[in-house]
Amino acid sequence: MTQIAPDVREVSARPQNAGRDWLREALPKIVLSPSLAMVLIFVYGFIIFTFYLSFTDSRILPSYGWEGWSNYSKLFRIRAWDTAVSNLLIFGSLYIVICCALGLALAILLDQKIRAEGFIRTVYLYPMALSFIVTGTAWKWFLDPGIGLQAVVRSWGWESFTFDWIKDGDMAIYTIVIAAVWQTSGFVMAMFLAGLRGIDNEVLKAAQIDGASNWALYRRIVIPQLRPAFMSAFVVLAHMAIKSYDLVIALTGGGPGTATELPATFMYSYTFTRNQMGIGAASATIMLMAIAAIMVPYIYSELREKK
């Protein structure tokens, strides 16, 4: 963990040439202020706006008739919302856990003085470059039992091979996990690889002399030191999980049925295709509160710790 370097502070202004000094002193804040203003208006302002909308009778466009809590009470009676929330829990936790596990495993494997490391790294990394608008169809085909993996394996002679999760309401959410992991695990791998490369070689030597097998060495010495990498990976992955929209739309369109609905797709569909913007705003508000519940303590602890 890094320390905040002691900061450089401007010397306080003198009465003479006060204008110039004031400018010099304020310059950093001036430079920061456009970004701050943008974020205050376009993030926090919009959050407040959305929060407000969730209490109105907005349908196709924002409207300002006050409705109180009725959007929320409706929201909680909609079964698809329950599905969406529980799907996010399943998807989010599996996605984050698998990405981390796989990313870590790949990083460790790739760290063993591998010959074509650069090439393999690029192969693992490239899916991050593609959006699901691009790869969605390929994945859909590949997972489709009729023409994809199942069909191919069967054509090789293993007639009883079955892989039809994407068509199965109970399993479809896991295909979303598979594709999402495909897209980001390489990126996580890169983060862990960077973490591994930052570990003091002498510590590894010490552990070898202490007689740690490679397994013990990684489990006891290396992985515990990757905490910062885990943290960064968590931020990126959580952010992806929450925003997964393209992925679901491209792969299952929320189906079969509503089996793969996620809060993001739910919110979109209520706001834009069902013309129930009030409920959409209510779901967005709930979503934001959930995000805040996870991210604010995290951000807080990360920023605190470095003091």
Partner: protein, 293 residues
Amino acid sequence: MSSNATATVVRTGAGSRFVIYTLLILFCLYYLLPLYVMVVNSLKPLSEIQAGGMMSLPEEWTVAPWASAWSTAQIGVEATGLKPFFWNSIVMVVPAVAISTVLGALNGYVLTKWRFRGDTIIFGLLLFGCFIPFQMVLIPMARMLGIVGLAGTVPGLIFVHLVYGIGFSTLYFRNYYQQFPTELVRAAMIDGAGFFTIFRRIMLPSSGPIAVVCVIWQFTNIWNDFLFGASFSDFDSQPMTVALNNLVQSSTGVKEYNVHFAGAIMAALPTLLVYIVAGRYFVRGLMAGSVKG
């Protein structure tokens, strides 16, 4: 912290090396499969695809789908292919990435080297902005753009990407600059350099690794964005993703999957290129800062 950019000193036996290589190659297959499906099918005539052999190599190789996707496929009323939209995307992505990177660098610089009361809170505010779902901001953002007269313009679109990209680029640069020796800044102050001179002459030239990470991140996100591109562009500024969507999602009529795949790969080429060219600086850049959080 002594950092060593080379592979681990942990030693592995010949047997386990075989296992390692096997695993690595198997995972290469996992990652390459969708690309394989796309490439193979983009080089087949449509009839072969309809005949059902999506996993097999083409019996008859053809580049016609590529030519069609590039210049003759039906995107809207005109059969223009993706060609004109490619340029639209470039015009939008390049400034958006450049500005958000520079702004992120400036913010990171202020937040680490010119600290003031409350700076941590400001950073926290910026960071939380990364997590806002984009669907939520569509309507209010449209209103705002309308008010300032940027609706349906390229600068408007750039602005939107800037707003929602700033959090991550600030995060990257802040974490990087945190490890940048403050003594250098102090030395430059004593040498008489001012705020911007220090930034331009001292910080920026050393920011290569993290700039690569930031540019890759922003470039992929902005290039691949569909929602903002569709909502905030005009008839003459629709980006590549919207065109690709129009190509792939056409509601009725024959679906020319081979053309779709060719178009999809084409739309992904710039980001792929960025990854392949800059990929080897990527881990280095991550090492240089962003990971150590």
